[in-house]
Subunit: 119 residues, 2 copies
């Protein structure tokens, strides 16, 4: 049982679109990610996903609207809802989702990470 | 599906030791709380609990040590581990925990809240 400082953790990596696990509880992971550019359209069939913005502005496109998230704002994307994150400038974010969640859902692309590092 | 601004949510209440639900995902709640003073010793038999500090300094006493958490820091308290939060000055924090979690565990005190408001 050790405290986790998220700014220290953000200092440990620079890759984009490659979430890092910083904590686990009740079968859920807490992850940090740095993202920039456009991600792929995807959904998670069985997992709701929480995005919490630490730095920058993240747009999340849905098929019927776009939500813009600023630091201190969060959004829960329910399971089965297609979404596509876009960051015009670098964004730092925290994710909270089941440990089973793959960040690109059922889709495999060059962005897909098979295993998330723990930092 | 609506974005949640945590500063706006913190503006909606002032009670201490009375967590408010701001989001739900995968059977877990995201809660905000303002706390000041000493809470009671308790544990959660079946639920791990995440504390993430937004403002102020929270001490969490355990039977064998004390952990001091500053803004941007988090701690996962595993199920079954007795703990007692203490805030000398007011602390604003975010909690992630299963929706079944009672904030005072199995203990009922004058601080116990039976039902958490959703804000």
């Amino acid at each position: 049982m050790k405290k986790i400082n998220i700014n220290e953790k953000f200092g440990l990596f620079n890759e984009h679109w490659s979430p890092k696990i910083i904590g686990e509880l009740n079968g859920q992971d807490v992850k940090l990610a740095k993202v920039k550019g456009e991600f792929v359209w995807h959904d998670h069939k069985n997992e709701d996903e929480l995005f919490f913005i630490i730095k920058g502005i993240l747009k999340i496109e849905f098929r019927d609207k776009t939500v813009e998230l600023h630091p201190g704002e969060m959004l829960v994307v329910p399971r089965g809802v297609e979404h596509k994150p876009i960051a015009e400038e670098e964004v730092w974010l925290m994710l909270f989702e089941p440990s089973s969640t793959k960040h690109t859902g059922d889709i495999t692309t060059e962005l897909t990470v098979d295993k998330y590092d723990r930092i």
